[in-house]
Structures are given as structure tokens and as C-alpha cells.
């Protein structure tokens, strides 16, 4: 390969600072989006398992809409098209007035997208418990809300820890799509370093290592959580 290697570029200023700042943005965007995705996804997922036809339909529409449009397209739509649909003043506020428009848009978009995926897992978790426990809870005189709170959800969440882990990992990797609307996260900064120094291979190697580090930490963390919350004899970790 016809290339001049220079690994020193990674520890030279300002490139080290760029990488650090990019990594921070990756974490901030991903965690913000995850909080949104987890809470909204749980609500939507629960709605899909209720007895109300209307709630189920709304939730299904949400999931199908957000799950079936590519994330890249959603980013573009939220950033460029959504503000144009609002009244002019509100549109201008979204474009310029709100704090850090690119970051906010990216975090919300990524959060809403991932929520549809989390919702499916919550629904799968609740459905896997079966109708029997729900009926038993209702027969004991619990309200539907209490059935969810005390019977279904505690078990459902434990069951779906493994698939949720992969969603949590995916959100860190998907956060790189935010660069298309100008959030200077890890991948964007790696590109930026490449453009300033033309040492692209070194910059992207560094970005790869950073992603591996953060996903490894998440994996260890979730494994710890899984171990802590498992109920002996239940499905999750039942084989151990």
C-alpha cells in the first residue's frame, strides 16, 4: 500500500482533543437517546399488550412507522423536513433557537427509532409469560395496572435483558449516523482528522478501538445486571 503511516497524529493536539470531544458526544447522544428509547419503548410495548383496541392500534402504528424507515432517512427528515412542516416561528426555533439543534434532533430521532425496537422486545417479554398469570392476577382482584406493575413487568424485563443488551449496544453504534446532520461525534471527528492530516487509517483505527471499548463496558455492565436481577428457577438464567 502506497501510504505514509504516522500513529503519532493520534496523540498530537488538537487531534487528541477532537477524538476526546467526539467520544464524549457519542456517549452523550447515545445515553440521552437510550433514556428516551427505554421509557417510550416500554410504554409503547405495554400498550401493544393491553386489552384496549385503540391503544394497541396506536402502538402498532408507531412501531411499524419508526421501525420500517431507515435511520439515515429519519435523521434527514427530522433535521430538514420536520421544521418546514411547523409554523414559521416554531420552525425557526427548531432550526436555530433551541439549544444545540443538531444534538437535540439527533438524540430525539435516535431515541424514537430505538423506542420502536425496545417496544417490540417489551411486548415479546410480556407475551412470553402467557395469559395464565394475567388472568390469575385479575382473579385475585388486582387492577390491570397492578397486574402489569406487580406480576407481568418484573418478569418480562428480566426475560428481555439479553435482547435489550444488544439494543443498548446498537444505539452506540447507530449514534454515528448523527454525523450526517452535523453532530461531531467519534466517527465525524475521525473523518475530520483524516481531512486535516490525511492519516485516515490511523484515525479510523482509533475510532474502532473507542467503539469496542464502550460496547465492551456496556456488555460487562449488562451481564452484571442480568446476574443481579435473575430469580432462581425463572426462565432467565434458569439453566444455570
Amino acid at each position: 500500500m502506497n501510504y505514509n503511516w504516522d500513529w503519532g497524529v493520534l496523540v498530537r493536539e488538537p487531534y487528541l482533543e477532537w477524538l476526546t470531544s467526539g467520544f464524549t458526544w457519542t456517549i452523550v447522544v447515545s445515553l440521552t437517546a437510550w433514556v428516551l428509547a427505554f421509557s417510550l419503548g416500554s410504554v409503547i410495548g405495554i400498550m401493544r399488550t393491553t386489552n384496549s383496541n385503540l391503544l394497541r392500534r396506536i402502538a402498532t402504528c408507531y412501531v411499524e412507522l419508526f421501525r420500517n424507515i431507515p435511520l439515515l432517512v429519519q435523521m434527514f427528515l427530522w433535521y430538514f423536513v420536520f421544521p418546514e412542516l411547523l409554523p414559521q416561528d416554531a420552525g425557526m426555533w427548531v432550526k436555530r433557537g433551541m439549544p444545540m439543534p443538531e444534538f437535540t434532533t439527533a438524540a430525539i430521532c435516535l431515541g424514537l427509532y430505538t423506542a420502536s425496537r425496545v417496544a417490540e422486545q417489551v411486548r415479546a417479554g410480556i407475551n412470553s409469560i402467557g395469559q395464565g398469570q394475567r388472568n390469575a392476577g385479575l382473579a385475585m382482584g388486582l387492577t390491570p395496572a397492578q397486574v402489569y406493575r406487580y406480576v407481568l413487568l418484573p418478569v418480562a424485563y428480566r426475560i428481555i435483558v439479553p435482547p435489550l443488551t444488544s439494543e443498548f449496544l446498537t444505539i452506540f453504534k447507530n449514534s454515528s449516523v448523527a454525523l450526517t446532520i452535523g453532530v461531531l461525534e467519534t466517527t465525524a471527528q475521525a473523518r475530520q482528522i483524516e481531512e486535516y492530516t490525511f492519516q485516515g487509517f490511523e484515525a479510523f483505527t482509533a475510532a474502532t478501538v473507542l467503539y469496542i471499548i464502550v460496547t465492551s463496558i456496556v456488555m460487562l455492565l449488562m451481564r452484571f445486571v442480568e446476574g443481579r436481577v435473575s430469580i432462581p428457577g425463572m426462565i432467565s438464567l434458569g439453566a444455570k
Binding site: 500500500m1 502506497n2 501510504y3 505514509n4 430538514f80 421544521p83 418546514e84 425557526m92 432550526k95 436555530r96 439543534p101 443538531e102 454525523l179 450526517t180 452535523g182 461531531l184 465525524a188 473523518r191 475530520q192 483524516e194 481531512e195 486535516y196 492530516t197 490525511f198 485516515g200 487509517f201
Partner: protein
């Protein structure tokens, strides 16, 4: 004595007989083109009118036409009459890497020749000269970079323009808000939708963007040049034989006036109505670079 003469004669015959192949043999790029029977040409998709996808779905433009002449010369040099061209789309982010790793043999786009990039790639002679300017809506009161104080400017990630604007702003103490975009169409969309007050890029590209916008009369390109950006066709480094062939081709075009004709085809007024007659600077550059044989 006779013996020595014989050896000398044999050596001469040997050298002459092998002159053509040895030319290509000391050039790794020509050798690999010859082996594959294909030349891999990097091109841009929306650098109007240098290198962009035409209505027939094929790359076209000023740089593409110049590259075709170079490819004709490669054909003659390698003796491959049926040399195939493989079009490889590149972006401002991928072009250097794809050249360094050998995916493309030449890049025909709108690439500024600068000394940092020359650490990884080489260039053929300058075929266009431009610089950073600012495009904004008419009536926005923006003419120079100083007017952007407190305003929002869109910048394309990883361009020489981004560096130029940030450098000048830092020197003059101008406080800019920036919106980073990934390519020219997005930068332009930011100005059209009012997300940014201005978009900074090479002035020729700004004219190109305006000429393709919904209402070209609404927009303006203003200000002094904030950077000097000479464009050149990019070739792999460490291959002077291959590079010389390109320099020779372009020098011939510039000397014969054909470069001027190709320029007029794309810029005066050009298929998109960009209407930029050959500038005096570029005319001089053509004259200076028309090296004799």
C-alpha cells in the same frame, strides 16, 4: 575490440527492443492497469460542472473530459486498444484513502492540490483555480466574512473551505456559529431552509449550486477570496513515469488550445448555465504549464 563492439551492439539492440515495455515496467500503476486491462477512475457525483452524474447516469464534466484524454494516452502507452474504464464514485472523505490503497488509478473531481495532501498523493498540473467565498440570500446584508459575526454559517466537513473560514474567523476575532454538513447539497439546503445564513465553499461550486437551485435570482456569491484553491487531477504518489504521462497529456492540451476549448464547453456558458469565461489567472496558468517537449 570486435568483441566489445558486438557486446555494445547487442546491448543497444536489447535496450531499443525493450524500450516500450520497460517504460511501463518501471511504473507500478501502468503495470497494474496493463495486467487488469482496466483503469479505475475515481469521480464525484455532484461537483458541477467538474465531475457529476449526467442525465444518462454516467459521470461527465470538465475534469472527466480531461481525464479521458489522459486515459487515451494510457491506452497508447500500454498498447491496450480495448482498455476498459471502471467508474468508481468517491466523496471528499474517501478520495485520498481510495487512492492510497490503490483502488483508483486517477481521481477526476474538484480536488484542491495542497502540500499536506501531497504526503499521500500526487497531482497533475493545475486545471482550475478557485477559492473560498460565501453564498447567501440576497438582502441578508452579508458581503464579507466580517458580516457573519453572530450569524450561522454552514460548512462542509473536511473541505479546505472549512479550514479557511475557521482560520480567518480566528484571526479576525469573528464569532461564527457553524452548522456542519456532509456535502454540498446539504449545505445548500441549510441556506435555502434558513437553518444557516450562509454557505462557504469554492466560489465555482457555489455558482453551480445557485444555477441548479429553485430560484437562482434569490441568491448571491459575495466577498473576497478567503483561500487559494488550485484544482488538479489526483494520481498515486511515487510513480513519476505515470505522472509524467499525465503532465505530458495536459501540457499538450494547454499548448494546443484544446484545454481552453474543453473549458469553454463546460463553463462558457456550460450545460448548467454557469457562465464563467476563462479567467486571466487560469489562462496564464495554462500558458506556464504548457511545457515544451
Amino acid at each position: 575490440m570486435f568483441k566489445q563492439l558486438c557486446v555494445a551492439a547487442a546491448a543497444t539492440v536489447f535496450l531499443l527492443g525493450n524500450a516500450a515495455p520497460s517504460m511501463a515496467a518501471d511504473s507500478p500503476v501502468l503495470t497494474r492497469i496493463k495486467e487488469r486491462g482496466t483503469v479505475n477512475m475515481g469521480h464525484r457525483e455532484s461537483s458541477v460542472p467538474f465531475s457529476y452524474i449526467g442525465s444518462d447516469g454516467k459521470p461527465q464534466g470538465y475534469s472527466i473530459d480531461l481525464c479521458m484524454k489522459f486515459i487515451d494516452a494510457i491506452k497508447a502507452e500500454t498498447g491496450l486498444a480495448d482498455l476498459k474504464i471502471n467508474y468508481v464514485p468517491v466523496t471528499s472523505q474517501t478520495r485520498i484513502a481510495l487512492m492510497a490503497n490503490g483502488t483508483i488509478d486517477l481521481e477526476c473531481g474538484s480536488t484542491t492540490n495542497n502540500l499536506t495532501r501531497q504526503k499521500q498523493v500526487d497531482y497533475l498540473p493545475v486545471t482550475f483555480i478557485t477559492g473560498t467565498k460565501i453564498a447567501s440570500k440576497k438582502g441578508s446584508g452579508i458581503t464579507e466574512i466580517e458580516d457573519l459575526d453572530g450569524k450561522v454559517v454552514a460548512l462542509s466537513l473536511g473541505t479546505t473551505n472549512e479550514k479557511a473560514i475557521k482560520r480567518v474567523a480566528a484571526e479576525k476575532g469573528i464569532k461564527l456559529k457553524t452548522v456542519m454538513v456532509k456535502d454540498h447539497p446539504q449545505g445548500w439546503l441549510s441556506v435555502e431552509t434558513g437553518r444557516a445564513d450562509a454557505y462557504a465553499s469554492d466560489h465555482v461550486l457555489l455558482y453551480g449550486l445557485i444555477s441548479k437551485s429553485k430560484d437562482p435570482s434569490q441568491f448571491q456569491v459575495t466577498g473576497r477570496f478567503l483561500s487559494y484553491d488550485p484544482y488538479g487531477i489526483m494520481v498515486p504518489r511515487n510513480d513519476s513515469t505515470y505522472r509524467r504521462l499525465g503532465i505530458l497529456t495536459l501540457a499538450d492540451l494547454m499548448r494546443s488550445g484544446e484545454a481552453h476549448k474543453i473549458y469553454d464547453k463546460w463553463f462558457n456558458p456550460g450545460p448548467t448555465g454557469i457562465n464563467m469565461p476563462l479567467s486571466d489567472t487560469l489562462k496564464k496558468a495554462f500558458e506556464i504549464q504548457a511545457l515544451p517537449h
